[in-house]
């Protein structure tokens, strides 16, 4: 340990590795490249991971959509080809029978999955947009960004069947003058006046929707479109710890029972499992992280083998020098320590430079992708323990590989070495 902190030891090491600078630098680049790849790849993989997470941050990651389609198997006295329409009562039944469900938002819509878009008119301006009938519970599953001064639909709107609406950002641009405040103003939807209570800033984040969407209270929508107790689709959020795949299976089973659908009918219910997709993407991202670590580590090992190789050559070249050192009193252990320290030193230097370069490249990538919110890539980072782990591994491997040339150096017989001309 004493030799490790001795200035003279290091001077010896510097002067011997400084002998063939070009070769030393090239060797160091081998390891440097390895750790650089390790840092950049695993950082990028983390960036992708973060990016996907950001894409889903608008919606509960353990949620799913389910809707009725058309039966394909005759069952319970019904023939095939029957359209399935959910009812509001299904919501309570599902919540009662499946304890893993946290929230259910029943939704009606027109224009998205069928039906015609709503016609909005404000004075001379008009446009047609997708329209939804929603409960306030929706916002606990998928966040809505309402511009300042406005609000989303609330319980009171539902109870009083108020003729209020939340419009989209694009709707605002298309129907109003620039700078005009829409809150409290009235627009005609399919000929009926609605008061605007909020403007929704659309952020893509799983599930349907665009920046022109109009939201009405569910009960108002019922009256406007005469939908009765029917529900177009359900947005279900399970508790975070629930297995979303199992929850989906349970939901389908209950719905099939309630709507007299054959258990083997695969087409009667449509659905989209965000939780499952999220899980798959997360697994994909962690697979990428793993892969990048493997590539990085393999490259590091390759580089370190290169160091061992070069030191072996250098020991061969320095046979005579080592013989001289032995003759004037260097113990075999001192020779071994010197060669091993050379190996470790080169590895660590390469490691540190590689980490710095990798971090610089990652921060450059971060700068470049900062404003690209569509790209599933953000904030590429490598956890400090990973870096320290890699560095530690490098020191370990550097020591290990250094043993080979060190042993070779140690076994040099001073007589033979000095006889060599």
């Amino acid at each position: 340990m004493k030799t490790l902190f001795d200035k003279d030891t290091w001077q010896e090491i510097f002067s011997s590795i400084g002998q063939n600078k070009v070769r030393t630098i090239i060797t160091v680049i081998g390891v440097l490249w390895g750790i650089f790849l390790y840092i950049v790849l695993s950082g990028a993989a983390k960036g992708v991971d973060n990016g996907f997470e950001r894409q889903f941050e608008r919606i509960s990651s353990n949620s799913l959509f389910v809707w009725g389609e058309v039966t394909s198997v005759p069952y319970d006295g019904f023939k095939t080809g029957r359209s399935i329409n959910f009812k509001l009562s299904d919501v309570a039944a599902l919540k009662n029978r499946i304890p893993e469900i946290q929230h259910i938002a029943p939704r009606n819509s027109s224009g998205v999955f069928g039906g015609s878009k709503a016609q909005l008119v404000n004075g001379q301006k008009k446009g047609s947009y997708n329209i939804y009938g929603d409960f306030p519970i929706l916002t606990t599953i998928t966040t809505k960004n309402i511009f300042e001064g406005g609000r989303f639909i609330n319980e009171s709107d539902i109870q009083n069947k108020r003729k209020v609406c939340v419009i989209g950002e694009r709707t605002l641009q298309e129907l109003f003058e620039e700078g005009e405040t829409p809150i409290g103003k009235f627009v005609r939807i399919n000929g009926i006046y609605f008061k605007i209570i909020g403007v929704n800033k659309f952020v893509d984040g799983g599930g349907p929707g665009d920046d022109g969407d109009i939201f009405l209270p569910f009960t108002t929508y019922q009256r406007l479109y005469n939908t009765g107790e029917y529900v177009d689709f359900l947005l279900v959020a399970a508790y975070p710890e629930a297995d979303i795949v199992k929850v989906e299976a349970d939901i389908r089973a209950v719905l099939k029972e309630l709507h007299h659908i054959s258990p083997i009918d695969k087409r009667a219910l449509g659905g989209f499992n965000i939780g499952k997709m999220f899980k798959q993407i997360t697994q994909f991202a962690s697979g990428m992280t793993f892969l990048s670590m493997v590539i990085g580590l393999a490259t590091i090992i390759g580089g370190i083998i290169g160091i061992g190789n070069i030191l072996l050559i250098s020991v061969k070249e320095r046979t005579k020098e080592i013989g001289i050192r032995r003759a004037i009193g260097a113990t075999p252990k001192e020779i071994r320590t010197q060669i091993m320290l050379e190996s470790v030193f080169l590895t660590v230097i390469a490691g540190i430079i590689g980490i710095i370069l990798g971090a610089l490249v990652l921060s450059a990538i971060n700068m470049a992708t900062k404003n690209m919110t569509d790209l599933p890539f953000t904030n590429p980072t490598v956890p400090i323990p990973y870096i320290l782990g890699a560095l530690f591994l490098m020191v370990f491997l550097g020591t290990l590989i250094g043993l080979i040339p060190a042993h070779r150096a140690m076994s040099i017989n001073p007589i033979d070495a000095l006889r060599e001309e």
Binding site: K7, K320, I324, R325, G329, T331, I415, L418
Partner: protein
């Protein structure tokens, strides 16, 4: 031990007193280098004893041999054997480095010995910038710096012209005059005559051991 072992020395029995300057002579293959290697603890005899300054040199492992070499012996080689990327001064400090001496002490001692061999001005020069005679003088300074009991010189003038040879031998004589015990392996009669005693080896045995009238090198 190699596959073909060869008995080189066949019974050597000789003593060197403190302060002697002994030439070991013999044609090639006579065993003079092997003898020097055994004295220098670079090689070990199959049998027999070796006592240096009343210390029996036995059970030598590599580490022990290295320590003894460092403490007791100074080597001078035919081909100088300086480390070519180290300056004259650094070469001279090296034995002290392996003795674990402090840096300042090393520098000071090494400079003293470089001055002694007349090369203080050349302290920062690399071996490649020195002449043969200068290199050998650096090597002598290096051999002396650890204040060894015995100086072992293996053909110290073998690579030098006659004028430089004389200069180097004069230095060796001077060191001997100061009381250092020195063994010189040589095959040159002229060099041997500059010593005080000549031991002649032939086929692994001592055939002649005589005191001579030392001839001054310069």
């Amino acid at each position: 031990m190699g596959k073909n072992s060869l008995q080189v020395l066949k019974g050597i029995n000789f003593k060197v007193a403190e302060g002697e300057l002994v030439a070991i002579m013999g044609s090639s293959g006579s065993g003079k280098s092997t003898l020097l290697n055994i004295i220098g603890m670079l090689d070990v005899a199959n049998e027999g004893t070796y006592t240096l300054d009343n210390v029996p040199i036995e059970n030598l492992d590599e580490t022990k041999a290295a320590k003894y070499r460092n403490q007791f012996l100074g080597f001078i080689f035919q081909s100088f054997n300086l480390i070519n990327y180290k300056s004259a001064l650094e070469n001279v400090t090296l034995p002290l480095y392996y003795q674990g001496k402090k840096r300042d002490e090393r520098q000071e001692k090494a400079l003293n010995y470089l001055e002694k061999v007349g090369l203080k001005k050349w302290a920062t020069h690399l071996p490649s910038e020195l002449s043969g005679g200068q290199k050998q003088r650096v090597a002598i300074a290096r051999a002396l710096v650890s204040q060894p009991k015995v100086l072992l010189a293996d053909e110290p003038t073998g690579a030098l012209d006659s004028t430089t040879s004389s200069e180097v031998m004069a230095l060796i004589q001077q060191i001997n005059e100061e009381g250092k015990t020195i063994l010189v392996v040589t095959h040159e009669e002229e060099i041997a005559l500059m010593c005080k005693r000549i031991v002649r080896l032939k086929d692994g045995v001592i055939v002649e051991d005589t005191l001579v009238n030392q001839k001054k090198a310069l």
